[in-house]
Assembly symmetry: C2
Homo-oligomer: 365 residues x 2
Amino acid sequence: MDRRIREHAEVLVDWSAQIEASDDVVLAVGEGTHDLAVATAELVGERGANLVATYAADELQRAYLRGHDGNFDANPAHELALVENADVYLALGGGRNTSALADVDAERRTAYAQATEAIREARLSTDWVKTVHPTRSLAQQAGMAYEEYQDFVYDATLRDWEALAAEMERLKEILDEGSEVRLVSADTDLTMSIEGRTAVNSAASVAYDSHNLPSGEVFTAPYDTEGEVCFDVPMTIRGERVNNVSLTFEDGEVVDVSADQNASVIEEIVDTDDGARRLGELGIGMNRGIDRFTDNILFDEKMGDTVHLALGRAYDANLPADESGNDSAVHVDLITDVSDESRLVVDGEVVQRNGRFRWEDGFEE
Amino acid sequence: MDRRIREHAEVLVDWSAQIEASDDVVLAVGEGTHDLAVATAELVGERGANLVATYAADELQRAYLRGHDGNFDANPAHELALVENADVYLALGGGRNTSALADVDAERRTAYAQATEAIREARLSTDWVKTVHPTRSLAQQAGMAYEEYQDFVYDATLRDWEALAAEMERLKEILDEGSEVRLVSADTDLTMSIEGRTAVNSAASVAYDSHNLPSGEVFTAPYDTEGEVCFDVPMTIRGERVNNVSLTFEDGEVVDVSADQNASVIEEIVDTDDGARRLGELGIGMNRGIDRFTDNILFDEKMGDTVHLALGRAYDANLPADESGNDSAVHVDLITDVSDESRLVVDGEVVQRNGRFRWEDGFEE
């Protein structure tokens, strides 16, 4: 077995999920993730924790959903009891075909998601962590060779997470104390308020309320957005390729949308509801192990030298306890490259210039 | 997908487990059984039942058990809750290597089994069914080519179960009314009492309290055994090949053991405890879809034209409610071919001769 699989499992079990003796662990095993599941099971055993492995195969889910008439029982007792009694929930994504659910109609999927809402809530109440095993199907989605993609995933995942968490903490402090963020680059000049909001140091560990491995971003919930922004990172959104999406904001709301390709997808999104016209997230990617876009949001939005903004719903973690943030049925991330001709400015002070942070060598104001 | 996989799933879901709308179903998916799991998931959906799939991979279990220090928590809450809330438990065996657990020491396995006793009890309280998917690893164990083994498994599994259940009911009635069974063949002349015992019609369905697919045997719990029996079907017991095991019984207990090969394995078994010297089961195989021995007890003991006897523990289902049967830590089946020069006699009347039953054409007393 590739020694990196074992190292990946170690990061997952010890840094991300912080598994301890007697924890009741659910391990959701995607298709094609057997080797990572085996390495993880061994470590769960070594920590003296208790293991139930579930088979999270998309093809099984497809067969079940298509077989069913769509009138689903609400929160089946056996599954709810499993998840409610779990301390930790580890999801190993991967699969053998990222389109395995393509012929399940959206209504059926939505009905199932709604019927199992309490199960999802129970899962989100555990120390849950989502990661991926580098399968051939994900390599294909990324347009990469299999071994090349393995290197990519492990470069992103096998970081010195403690050091990165400490660096991200610096940015979090700046954002927590700041009132206004301005993002400037060739086609972008955008101003947002962050007064009163709390940034999350997303350091790929439940200790930081961060549930993705890899992670490596600091994010907060902006409001009162004004100006223009161009997202120059190509992405697939709702199955459509979009590129160079430009948004114009006035009084916090999108008033104009353009794009080189499929602008209609973005127009549809901003028309979903009132909240979809406002931003829910400002995120700054700081994982320099991620060195290219792979059309997978788990990686893309964490990439060093990028900033992403999400239309729609804000995360509670960014808000004061008594305040509700931007509400919407959607949360759609868009990404911009800030490695060149770019500045991130907080309350008039440049924090990041051309991808370099204020505390790094070579930073010049 | 081979249409027989779908048919196998239909027998499993409808005949064996009798799954109905809103049943909470656990589907334990062994390695290499993905296709049968997909077919089963679709049918569970069609019946309107609820599905949790677990990943029952031997390699995962090996890694977990070897990683752990052996001091297992008793009945982890999440797993216990899952099983206690399940109505149906379907286990799909198969695997990629029947020796996958070979380097887990026996003490570790026993400790785990003891710690999870309540979970096993809860599982046995559901409508549970165990079947196998014809994997290459099982084909290898059987000494058969892959496609040849697929034919073998489906011939055994895709029976007219209703007709077979009706035929087995005839034998059950004879055994229920009978007092004494005598088995005679070339090297065998054995007499057992079955007075007061109830035979089980093992028709591969929970409706018959029968939990193996395939099944196809009628069994009861004999006692006061006298005489000699030779088991001419070669088997692997505790990892050792045994052949032509001969046992001599006096006053219900084994007094002499011999064998062409590895007699010591059988001697060890009868020395386990007092109950291990007595019989716990007399079973008559009636599944004529099974036409050869494959060194897999799930199939071998159900084969038409065979009789098996088990040393050790008797099943409660064969006993009156107020009576406890033969008790032992072991239950070891041994099989004899009755297709030739053989008679099964109940209270002086020949019930089976050379593999033919009394009610079949061509039977001559």
